[in-house]
């Protein structure tokens, strides 16, 4: 029986890998219900309750090592902030995340572009796929096929007839440039091919959002920002003076220090979440929410209980719950099957090991009386 406790750990690694690979390959066919928890509701409700035009600070303190857990929740929060027409000020404490999170901000802002699309409708998937191939090889001929013009804004969940908005449009139209077509998609009994004719940005840098970049100093930076945002960040990442960004109709209008922000959202992989609570929210009196890696989440629950933060997005679970709240199933949601299967396997292995331990404990070693 002792062999039960001596199973090579590499077999367990292989088992986990096989299960996750299978779940990832079959992720479109497996669906689990997602119900948001009260810590996630706390963040969502706090942001949803802000009036349009409120200035919000988003501190994205992570790097590629924590991308798996934090980028999906960062993106989901950004979508919510943009959708609510809040004035977003982004920053980071981590130099390694400087350009990395900038891409997330810029790409999320692009999701709110008004896309003028030509909609070509086909009765069969093959006809739609053939047309897509024609767009790539002979665009002039493809342009001659009869089309209807429609405006789509995936960030605002809007689409004009003949298509209806659905979350799939996020993955279909994201990153599709002018003149190019998205993959065919089926709606009703028809197959549509959308060709982007024009992209018109609705979110303007400097007016709707800005990115201050990185400054070192951690807690000292926070205290500095609490006294004067312009001293802490004399310019944004692109060299524009922050005093200029605080002008009439600009993103930092009415904001000169931390206390002027209506909400702070921290997406953090390290201790900066606690530092923001201790040196920021507690000291200068503004509400805040936290998104963090799963490892850090247990340490932050005391702050939630004492109402020092409005809510917590803890790890991948927090990310997929927030995606469900904003009705945009993205990367985190697609990983639910694999994550769930892995957890079930770990639970079964823990039970197995405990049973094996008890059984071995009861059995006597060879030669014993």
């Amino acid at each position: 029986m002792r062999w039960l406790l001596d199973i090579d750990r590499r077999i367990i690694f292989l088992l986990v890998l096989v299960l996750i690979v299978l779940a990832t390959v079959l992720q479109d066919r497996i669906e689990f219900p997602i119900v948001s928890s009260s810590p996630v509701d706390g963040v969502y409700d706090a942001i949803d309750g802000l009036p349009a035009g409120s200035p919000v600070l988003l501190s994205m303190d992570y790097d590629p090592a924590s991308q798996a857990e934090l980028e999906p929740m960062n993106r989901a929060v950004l979508r919510h902030l943009f959708r609510k027409d809040l004035r977003i000020t982004g920053m980071t404490h981590w130099p390694r995340g400087l350009n990395f999170v900038e891409q997330v901000v810029q790409s999320t802002a692009r999701e709110f572009d008004d896309l003028s699309v030509e909609v070509r409708t086909f009765d069969s998937k093959k006809a739609a796929t053939d047309h897509l191939a024609l767009v790539k090889t002979k665009p002039d001929e493809a342009a001659k096929v009869k089309a209807q013009l429609a405006t789509v804004n995936i960030g605002r969940e809007r689409a004009e007839a003949p298509i209806q908005y659905e979350p799939r449009l996020y993955t279909l139209l994201d990153e599709v440039e002018k003149g190019l077509a998205a993959e065919p998609f089926e709606q009703g009994a028809k197959h549509h091919v959308l060709t982007v004719v024009e992209r018109k940005p609705t979110k303007e840098y400097g007016k709707d959002y800005c990115y201050l970049g990185v400054r070192l100093g951690a807690a000292i930076l926070i205290i500095n920002m609490g006294q004067s945002l312009f001293d802490a960040f004399p310019a944004d990442k692109y060299g524009t003076p922050t005093r200029e960004l605080a002008g009439q109709g600009k993103v930092l209008e009415g904001v000169s220090k931390l206390g002027d922000f209506k909400y702070l959202m921290v997406v953090a992989a390290g201790i900066s979440a606690e530092q923001w609570i201790i040196y920021g929210s507690q000291k200068y009196g503004f509400p805040m929410g936290v998104g963090c890696t799963a490892v850090m989440a247990p340490d932050l629950y005391p702050y939630l209980n004492s109402k020092q933060i409005t809510g917590i997005l803890g790890g991948a679970k927090g990310a997929w719950e927030y995606e469900a709240k904003i009705r945009v199933p993205d990367k985190a949601t697609s990983r639910v099957p694999a994550q769930t299967m892995a957890h079930v396997l770990v639970i079964l292995l823990v039970i197995f090991c405990n049973v094996a331990y008890l059984m071995v404990g009861r059995s006597k070693p060879p030669g014993a009386r």
Binding site: D6, D8, L17, A68, R96, V214, Q282, S306, G315, Q339
Partner: protein
């Protein structure tokens, strides 16, 4: 611990090792070929230009497989990938720290302003460097004296300033946030009107705080009533560690799931 391989010769890779490396290499080779050759795969050229993004995906895949090969055994591929990660990360961060912090906060106001004037630097006078910056520069250089054994004692001055400022800034804020605020919401009346769950939650939190604090109070012997309460504290600690461990498992699995997702959808384009 049972192993899968039988070493033939001390110091030489075993048959199992060789088989593993061959399988890994072939997985990378044939997987990459598949990734480029199948219908929805990567293109070698995009708009007439070489597809560097696909090259990046290949490198990322190679490094991912090399790092995960550690789960079988420590090996040169893992060591190479690990050192590559440390080196690239350090180099990248060094450059970023120079351009985001040292250059705008020290080099420009102290040295360049003697030559050029930047509009956004508040308080800087045209043609005059900001001499106050000499103090933090001097303290920073004192820190580096630790690398010279004869002069390492000088770094204590910088550390004293560092520790003193840090303690002065952190102690009142940490006490206000982590002690007083936490106490305020622990010692609250039981909210019977908010429902059974809220009331029960309040009682559990209070019980947990008191019992765990008593467990760590070693000035009296843990016997009798004190012993019982401290044992309750131990249970609370166990449950806390279990929850923390569960969250840690979730975090690590999420990282693995993301890597597998990259390999299947980013690399193989399935």
């Amino acid at each position: 611990m049972a192993t899968l391989d039988v070493p033939e010769k001390k110091g030489a890779p075993s048959i199992g090792d060789i088989l593993f490396y061959v399988v890994l290499f072939n997985l990378f080779l044939w997987g990459s070929l598949f990734a480029f050759l199948h219908e929805d795969g990567h293109d070698l050229r995009v708009n007439g230009v070489f597809n560097y993004e696909a090259l990046g995906v290949l490198i990322a895949t190679g490094v991912t497989l090399a790092l995960y090969s550690f789960l079988y055994k420590d090996n040169p591929f893992f060591k190479a990938a690990e050192n590559l990660y440390v080196g690239v990360g350090l180099g990248y961060e060094l450059v970023l720290v120079w351009y985001s912090s040292i250059k705008p906060d020290l080099y420009k106001p102290l040295i360049r302003y003697a030559v050029r004037y930047e509009l956004w630097q508040e308080g800087a006078i045209k043609g005059q460097p900001d001499f106050w910056l000499l103090i933090p520069l001097f303290l920073g250089l004192l820190l580096l004296s630790r690398f010279i054994p004869r002069l390492s004692w000088l770094s204590r001055w910088a550390f004293a300033f560092y520790v003193g400022f840090g303690a002065g800034a952190s102690i009142p804020n940490v006490i206000a946030s982590n002690v007083l605020q936490q106490l305020k919401y622990t010692l609250v009346p039981i909210p019977f009107d908010a429902g059974f769950l809220a009331a029960f939650n309040t009682v559990v939190i209070l019980l947990g705080v008191v019992s765990v604090l008593l467990y760590f109070f070693f000035s009296i012997e843990h016997r009798g009533a004190v012993g019982i309460v401290s044992k309750v504290g131990v249970w609370f600690l166990m449950i806390c560690f279990g929850a923390s461990f569960g969250y840690t498992v979730m975090g690590r699995m999420a990282l693995l799931v993301q890597r597998v997702d990259f390999l299947i959808h980013g690399w193989l384009r399935l």
